[in-house]
């Protein structure tokens, strides 16, 4: 068994997911099976293999990554969607989103 009930509860807490009692057992089983399968990655020798985080730099023209053509100039642009975004928020008090009180005084 790779993953315990406690592991599931810990991960659910990190992810801010509420789970029912049955869900905890269901996910424990599912994650256990998936993680056991994923163990096959341990068969490979990955010494000196660089991690790959994205494909953009290597895939574009050779050398393209070096001078970062993907980065735009740092200029301000107007945001024209603030009104509709606030209008569709679950609870807004313009220009803020309202949430339950965080700090007790």
């Amino acid at each position: 068994m790779k993953i315990s009930r406690e592991d599931v509860l810990r991960v659910a807490e990190l992810a801010h997911l509420g789970l029912s009692r049955e869900e905890v057992e269901t996910y424990r089983n599912q994650l256990d099976r998936i993680l056991s399968y994923i163990d096959k990655l341990n068969e490979l020798d990955i010494t000196d293999v660089e991690p790959m985080a994205q494909v953009t730099y290597s895939a574009a023209a050779p050398g393209a990554g070096r001078d970062h053509p993907e980065l735009r100039d740092d200029v301000l642009l107007p945001c024209t969607v603030a009104e509709p975004i606030l209008a569709s928020a679950p609870d807004a008090a313009k220009p803020f989103f309202r949430v339950p009180k965080v700090i007790d005084r």
């Binding site: 991690p51 023209a61 393209a64």
Partner: protein, 481 residues
Amino acid sequence: MSEPTNWTIPGVRAALKAKKISARELAAEFYARIDRRNAELNAYLTLSPERAYQQADRVDAAIARGDELPPLAGVPVAIKDVISTQGIRTTCASKMLETYVPPYDATAVERLDAAGAVFLGKTNCDEFAMGGSNENSAYGPVRNPHAPDRVPGGSSGGSAAAVAAGLAVAALGTDTGGSIRQPGSFCGIPGLMPTYGRVSRYGLVAFASSLDKIGPFSATVADAAAVLSVIAGHDPNDSTSAPVPVANYTAESARPVKGMRIGVPEDYFGDGLDAEVREHVEAGIARLERLGCVRIPLRMMHTDYAIATYYILATAEASSNLARYDGVRYGLRVPGGTLTEMYRQTRERGFGPEVKCRIMLGTYALSAGYYDAYYLRAQRVRTLIARDFADAFEKVDAIITPTAPTPAFKLGEKTSDPLTMYLADIYTVTGSLAGVPGISVPCGQTNAGLPVGMQIFGPHFKEGSVLQVAHAFEQSRASSN
């Protein structure tokens, strides 16, 4: 499957120019079809007639004035419901976003609009694009137009079913681990995944940011080329979109394939491949050889590790991306006494079971003590898989494989256990991890009448080569049938 009049993009253009039909009448014709079939297929989640008729009227006015028509003038399209559409509800097939209406268009959508397309509506999919059967939608599964007791594939099942059933001329889907190519295969139509960064992701609701791509479904390969030509290109709003010039994909796809080197990796033809699928893909390769392609056997040694790699990286990225659904700014909010309770209850109620499973797997893989063993290791194996492709493309111009190990399976057949569903992604996730373009093109039907797809991969930004092989193949099949 009842065969409706098969519209194509050039067909729409010719009919509009000859004034055989107006763009408004054509949109109305498609809404009538949707009316007849959607209750059964569940391909569309939201229809957008107001915007569609506005767009159609704009095209009709241009025709009346005798203006030059943009490339997709009057073409009725569907858009997967993970892609933002201004003023049109975008749910991601989740309860979390049941009433969410985006204030802006995704760049790909904006480009379709500027090209004259008519937006019929938003298509069903697996929740947040997580799934391979469309059974993870919070709004019910989509049915395969070829066999209503079977899945259309996923996650872009609604887009694929809509085009296959003649309820749209073309559709946008998204592909993270196979979500365009596999439903294309199951529904018997071309489905194109462009190179990572070829099409802007701005306005695409993020699942796994290093893997997500937007691409078209269409009735013909030429139509896929036409849509790609419109949506491809750099976008200042997506710094991962590539500053690589956009080719004329229509012209490139029409080139003859004689002399092209096609690689056939034996690693994609092993255990687990359905016998009928194998037979049709082998026959497809033989057809390409008759067209003058040179078959080159390949080994791609890390193929067998792709699913494990993909499900670590994609879920890790998803767990981070989906942290934004907290009930604060948009979408569902379930009130709670404290902020943390509000987050927890909102996410408990808003997310479906598969999304929760993936968030937990990703959170686990990124958590203290496990990061090196899972996430970092998977990133290193990703490099090995990408090298397999780079090495192969030293020797060949395209790689041919089956798209999926089986034809469309039955609804409920693989829902009991996520891993069983994941294993069906074996032939598609490899290219996703490498970031190369790939297409699924129909190559036959099983004895039971189910479509089979053949997958064609090309080097980064060589969509033209992929489309070229697919187009020649499609033309050859059509002329010999």
